[in-house]
Symmetry: D2
Subunit: 354 residues, 4 copies
């Protein structure tokens, strides 16, 4: 059933396969009167683009977004914003070897089981190429959020972890290195490790952390649509994500209530923030922060034994141009999805009181 | 905006505050012709009920569900199933001390900020009492799932962790102890620890693990509504949950692709299952398993400094009848939400092919 | 698929069969802080109630609504409002004769074809008894609409038509007669005609007209969710409705553009109002008016030839207590559905601009 | 709030303004494995296209649809189908005279009131050009419906009405004349009248009738989403529509129940079909038929007095290339919307029973 839309009021629907003619989407429900800086949107897209640095895939896709509607004389009109990103690099031949072969830990097998048919060119719809559309919508949403700051960054690559605490980080440093880690020293080690992994024809996982500042109080809806539940779904819907935790997360399960409770200051802020800015599913004005776990990319440059669509064993040869670690390019995607969630709840919240 | 519904085709909407006249819900979209065993539903409710053992809250709520519609002569009719659970134990006076006071790490403050008004009796809508309605719907959904088995259990309490591997567990043992841990020896240690924590007037967190067996291939929808994304949202919407991971989860981020990929057997099953039964957001027929992190209950039996609605410091005295650890009673809730997700995708999947 | 909900932000979901234990519903998305007068809600219910006058069904149902949640100390809290109306008059024996028999022009046959099973007691879910829940929600919605006036009334019964123009009507007269026609002279003729029809054991159709005054400009959404499209759906979803037209309606199709166009006054109002207060699907501040066509009630007190579930001819004997004309009792239902539509769009419109 | 989507399972979302770069849409939820004949889709588009005959607008728009995704090797893949129709004829200068002027009975004024901003070029989003996207989706849906026949045709133009009964009509004649009336003699009179109206610089309204044959029993959902309620909404969402009636419609309100009831044959079919193929909101297998009322086009080639955005009186000169009667071009749009509704309910119905 239609699973290609996200959001209730600020709603993104995407289409497109990795090697079709184009990908694109429709942003419906963007309020009228918002000035749009399309260059800033392209800038965000460039952060996700292949070929941007030595440690990401060297595929060449310019990823230029074209807006077809909903923006007039530089402003949103309240009508749906249609956009398209042409696929300039449709090298279908690269993928002919997987037409009948199921790549391990990819979606080839499950798509075939579900639909009985599949666009086998490069992952088709299951390719992370689709996330370019999310970045477009998220970048547009960011322009609606004005002073709400969303900062994602690489928090770990394999076993290498960023050790600094949240309040020690300078987010201005995130974009100063290709790994997108706001601690230059750790970034260097991560970069070296990714290069080493790539030279082995292997891949590695990692985590992205995200901090959202200046969130108004009162965002989020009770019960099923808690703010962190929707954030979690948003993150888990990104390709290769295996986990989500916010505030104290899994570590918090080991604590006692007397240690974990965030005591109030008189102004309603809290002395600690193990709640991660959300209580009862509703933002309390403190920083929202969360971690997103990315598995190692399934496409490796090593030969693997696998099966084809007839259930016969075949050897799959590692080739192509893929990311040794998805985390650096995932950073803008995490930010985009966070922006979509916050924007939607901001709009939803306009109807919570008479 | 309406956040009290869950599911697209098999859809649960709930209502009710902890100390109002009743809680209840409507299950819409249940297929016609399903024989319903209402006793089994009550049995599931009893697993969640307060007062069931020495290590949970001693509040007395019989939690008897009454069905008002949608079931006729023992079968579902395809029309909405309305149900109600009366609140027999409306001891509002227990909560008068929190009328103007914000309990730390509860939703009192955020509800007031969002709505400007709040049913202050015992958490009102933010109380976990609402989850009784989820258990009703989940228990009904289970009857639709026939041979799909959903087994949740306590995997950790504080620092005490279940050490056995998935394939070493005997789920028949889960209900043999009040902690709901399928390893009796670990269960005993957990139980002792919970009692110790309670005697301190404190609380502790923990994790619930869930394994779903015999899931048909092909469940889940591409892109935003991936099976694990919806499972994650479902779990994160349960009170006190701080994190969700499936398959290899956060640990998997430390692995290499060559270690992490699940190689195929000729029948499409996989030799390992780090994917957790889901690839590209779609079930592949292997066991689905995931972990859910619960923070320590915020209500402790110790005095805490807090603020009132006028921003003045007040001391909050610990009293009442609360759970020292939410995990044992959360087990049936996790199962219920899993059942709702799987049922919804089973129905959604009926439309995926011509 | 779940078809028992109405509205996007202000959302009503109903449950219940005519002869089950209770009917009821959940109103989700009502803004917090609204003072609720429950007596006024009961008054609206009484307008729909059987037995209210000599020309409606003499069944006895007190139709008392109980609210279980979402209202605290007289105000809405922003949480879902659950309510129940007990069925005190479950005379199932009245309906035993239709257990296996399909009443002509009822939903017995189609429900059986769709679901393979059916609550045969008095129409079950297809009974108009369900509309009592709509009246509850609509009456609550009216309290949110403050100075927006919604006036429905009987405009025709069979061939007897109200001849007066909209601006000649005094809506204070609507409730002065059992037919609910604001022209006493016409009302008398209608009433006499309904009594005559009833004495023949027959039924008759009619139309309800509705005028909505003081609607803010800008309500309605472009393209698929035009204000009149949603109004039309709302009305067509009421039992026995066969048609909907607004503004110039079907008569307008015979006009020329030069006659039909509503020319502007300088203040944006229009000199004529053939548009019916809606242009391009969006309210323009002029009165919204529309007509709703109700067919004659299918249950007649005459013998009819019909078939049973085995496809055999059987004679159905006319008996029971039914309405000879549904229109007088439909008036509050039309108003309720109009109130739900307007309320939902008022809330939706809060997000149309930055 | 997002009002640019239609359907629950088979879901169309559209974007685009009349004079922007392109219009287009996304069809989400189309089952996999459907062979698509794109030429047939283009043929349907050509039925709606301007310039197709002497009695429609002479604007030149080739209206060529390009599919970007969701169709692979001639078959649907179950993933979203993105499509675009470029606007080749962006003569913005034609519309400069209405930048600050509100055309009577258009949506200019209401869009400005709602959004505070408006793409003033030729109606922008409120232009009927958007319906081209509906025709694309409807034509694709028709290919899923196989032997279900949807036949719409012109039933009246102004006062000229098609007099033949449904069973006397030969739908093969509909496309033999530019008016799309299946009775050639009436068609000729309608055509002459439209030409006369055009020569006066005026416009005229009319009605479209639609008959759907071979609809499976059981389509439609109870209560709010009755089959005819959704059909009504679909039709009322088409530009210029003022009314909808099905089966006996408004005429049926004048009948008695004893005349109006459709008595059964032994096979479940009915001797008469005043119900219009739908009982209790669910199809009964008989022909579904309904009427749709279109007002006269608001753009006339005569001077009209109107106001500008500053509330000053201005004279608007009639010019441009517009339809004297929208009905002939509306016929394929009515069919498209009917196809979308039926397709969606066919898919929904797959989940109605276990």
């Amino acid at each position: 059933m239609a699973g290609n839309s996200f959001g209730k009021i600020f709603k993104l629907t995407t289409f497109g396969e990795s090697h079709g003619q184009a990908i694109g989407g429709i942003i419906d429900g963007c309020p009228a009167g918002l000035e749009i800086n399309t260059e800033k949107i392209q800038t965000e897209l460039n952060r996700r683009r292949p070929g941007q640095s030595a440690i990401v895939t060297q595929r060449k896709e310019p990823d230029t977004v074209e807006f077809y509607s909903g923006i007039f004389e530089g402003k949103t009109t309240g009508t749906p914003i249609g956009f398209v990103i042409k696929n300039s690099n449709q090298k279908s031949k690269d993928y002919s070897h997987i037409k009948d072969t199921y790549r391990p830990s990819h979606a080839d097998y499950t798509y075939d089981e579900k639909y009985g048919v599949r666009d086998y060119r490069g992952g088709g719809r299951s390719s992370a190429r689709e996330t370019a559309c999310r970045v477009v919508a998220g970048a547009l949403a960011k322009q609606l959020l004005s002073n709400i700051e969303i900062n994602a960054y690489t928090a770990s690559v394999g076993q290498i972890e960023l050790q600094k605490k949240l309040n020690e980080l300078d987010f201005n440093l995130t974009e100063t290195n290709p790994v997108r880690c706001p601690d230059p020293e750790t970034a260097e080690r991560m970069e070296a490790y990714i290069k080493e992994i790539r030279s082995e024809g292997d891949t590695v996982g990692g985590t992205v952390q995200c901090v959202i500042k200046n969130v108004p109080k009162g965002l989020g809806e009770p019960v099923f649509d808690k703010l962190h539940a929707e954030l979690g779904k948003a993150m888990l819907s990104i390709n290769a994500v295996k986990g989500f935790e916010y505030g104290s997360g899994f570590e918090g399960t080991k604590m006692k209530g007397s240690e974990h409770n965030d005591l109030f200051n008189k102004d309603g802020s809290t002395k600690t923030n193990l709640s991660g800015g959300i209580q009862g599913g509703i933002s309390n004005g403190m920083d929202i922060y969360f971690n997103v776990a990315f598995k190692p990319v399934a496409t490796i440059m090593q030969n693997q034994e696998t099966i084809n669509s007839e259930g016969k064993s075949v050897e799959m040869q590692g080739k192509g141009r893929h990311d040794p670690c998805v985390v650096p390019r995932a950073v803008p995607i995490v930010e985009a999805m966070a922006a979509l969630v916050i924007t939607d709840y901001l709009l939803q919240n306009k109807t919570s009181r008479i």
